[in-house]
């Protein structure tokens, strides 16, 4: 089943640096994880986001960051959407807004998601940025520009720090038996 990625969830870090991919508004989960390939991980890896940015599935690298417009991840509740982006190496997503299921599934999977009210027009695919997750600060390392995003709620930040909700649950269960 495609819904299980092969890569383990990355360790949480407060500050990450990476190259960005600029995505438009309303990127839907069918574009990220097409319905046709839900039973095929390789095909999903091959076709993910191809209708948005043709070269994305071929050229995305481990450690890259997505910077998107409004309503990122709209549509289906399929968790293969954030999962496949993690599998492709994406380490964080910054967007003007997120569809709510995509947002909460990303948190649940330990994938940092930061809301930034307005993505500056100067941002381009390939720019390097530095993201401070707890402070929700985004620094464009090319222009030096610093932007303030919306801070992740402390309760949700804790879930990210523990590498997602499965780890949270497993440690809660462990706590019960001790």
């Amino acid at each position: 089943m495609a819904i299980v990625g092969k890569k383990p969830i990355k360790d949480y870090e407060d500050v990450i640096r990476g190259k960005i991919w600029l995505f438009p508004d309303n990127v839907d989960t069918d574009a990220i994880s097409p319905g046709q390939y839900l039973d095929d991980l390789d095909a999903t890896l091959h076709h993910s986001c191809e209708t948005i940015i043709k070269q994305f599935p071929m050229e995305v690298k481990d450690g890259d960051i997505i910077v998107a417009g409004k309503n990122f991840g709209c549509g289906s509740s399929r968790e293969t959407a954030p999962a496949i982006l993690q599998e492709k190496g994406i380490v964080a997503i910054i967007a003007e807004s997120f569809a709510r299921i995509f947002y909460r599934s990303s948190i649940a999977r330990g994938l940092p998601v930061i809301e930034l009210e307005k993505i500056p027009k100067q941002f381009q695919t390939g720019d390097k940025i530095e993201l401070n997750i707890p402070k929700a600060e985004v620094k464009n390392l090319k222009s030096g520009e610093m932007l303030q995003g919306k801070k992740i709620h402390p309760i949700l930040l804790e879930i990210l720090k523990k590498k997602g909700l499965i780890e949270v649950l497993l440690s809660e269960l462990k706590g019960e038996s001790e």
Binding site: M1, I3, V4, N26, D28, D30, A31, P34, G35, Q36, L38, D39, E50, T51, K70, N71, C74, G75, S76, S77, R78, E79, P82, S97, F98, A99, R100, I101, R104, S105, A108, R109, H153, I155, L156, G164, L165, I166, V168, L169, L170, E172, L173, S177
Partner: protein, 422 residues
Amino acid sequence: MSGKTIAEKILGSHSLTGENVKVNEIILAKVDLIMSHIGTAKVFLDFQKIRPPKKRKVFDPDKIVVLFDHYAPAPTEKWAAVHDLIRKFVKKQGIKNFYDIREGICHQILPEKGHIKPGMLIIGGDSHTTTYGTFNAASCGVGNTDLFYAYVSGKLWFRVPQSIKFEISGKLPYNVMSKDIIIKIAGDYTSEVAIYKSIEFIGETMESLSIASRMTMSNFALELGAKFAFGVPDQKIVDWLKERTNDSLDLIKPDDDAIYERIYEIGVDDLEPQLSCPHTIDYVKPVSAVAGTKINQAFLGSCTNGRFEDLEIAAKILDGKKIHPDVRMIVTPASQEIWIKAAKSGIAEKLINAGAIITNPNCGACFGAHGGLLAPNERCISSSNRNFQGRMGSNAAEIYLGSPATVAASALKGEIADPREF
């Protein structure tokens, strides 16, 4: 202190971190019901991470409903294996509320089988779980990992949403349906109008609508970003549900002085049939603006519009006529109950005689993985809820979303057509 919205009341009564919940606060709440379909397989896999194995127990098997509606019956060996795994899991966990491939689409089955009640807090492994808002339940979709957490613990975190109201007034014109209202709202206010928000649909039009028509709106509200999508809390809900459950049914109504971020007023007296045009649901035009566009396929079904009244209006338009020879019309009733009613009432025969095919109740062509896929450069008119590029097959195909009446009228003419002419 100000009053409370429906969302604030239901979240408050389920909160484990204080009853007096505030907008934007994150709370931990107990859930009354969990629904999952194919994603149950991932829940099963996550269960295997729990040590020791004897702790692999769901929190309450009677508060979980599992069913098969996507990929039902299994279209490939891989999906057959997934179904097999889920069947064994539900048996082992003692989940009695399991509906195998025979019943139909989750969002129709749960209300029909009496699982939904006013005031409940429900999560589902399907985005259109907002549909149960019609029955005065706070219900929303989540991903598989959230499902797993709730399956084991019976609780989950929620952000308390801001609420908005859509006040609908006026009388819908002939062959104009609730789908046209919600598509019009998408066009006027975009697919972001309700992100993270709880919608309450109110007004005289809502009161006059059938439960099925209201469900269309609570369902499609997800496409506007909604977390919850409540219909009017009235006696119609109670009358519909009491045929299906013996439990007490107490409506949750908002306080008069509850705070809403915004109230949108929509008049429908002059509403034309509407279409979401390719490839976003909020790229909306009246049918008249695109009439004449050739189509290859017409799909009548889905959790949005696969109910009896949807089949009925289509049959009325197609009765005694033949659909255009270049059009394939696929009809997928949302449940067996609807299928049987369509058969007994003669509606199924009318649809078949007009040239449509009727499939077993499932998610079908809507999600592009199981029957009714589109070839490059083909065009489909669909009563479902998504027209994203590639949703129903080829990335080079186009999907127009409209009401069941518009789907039927278009199937007849072989091109997008206005149902008011029939």
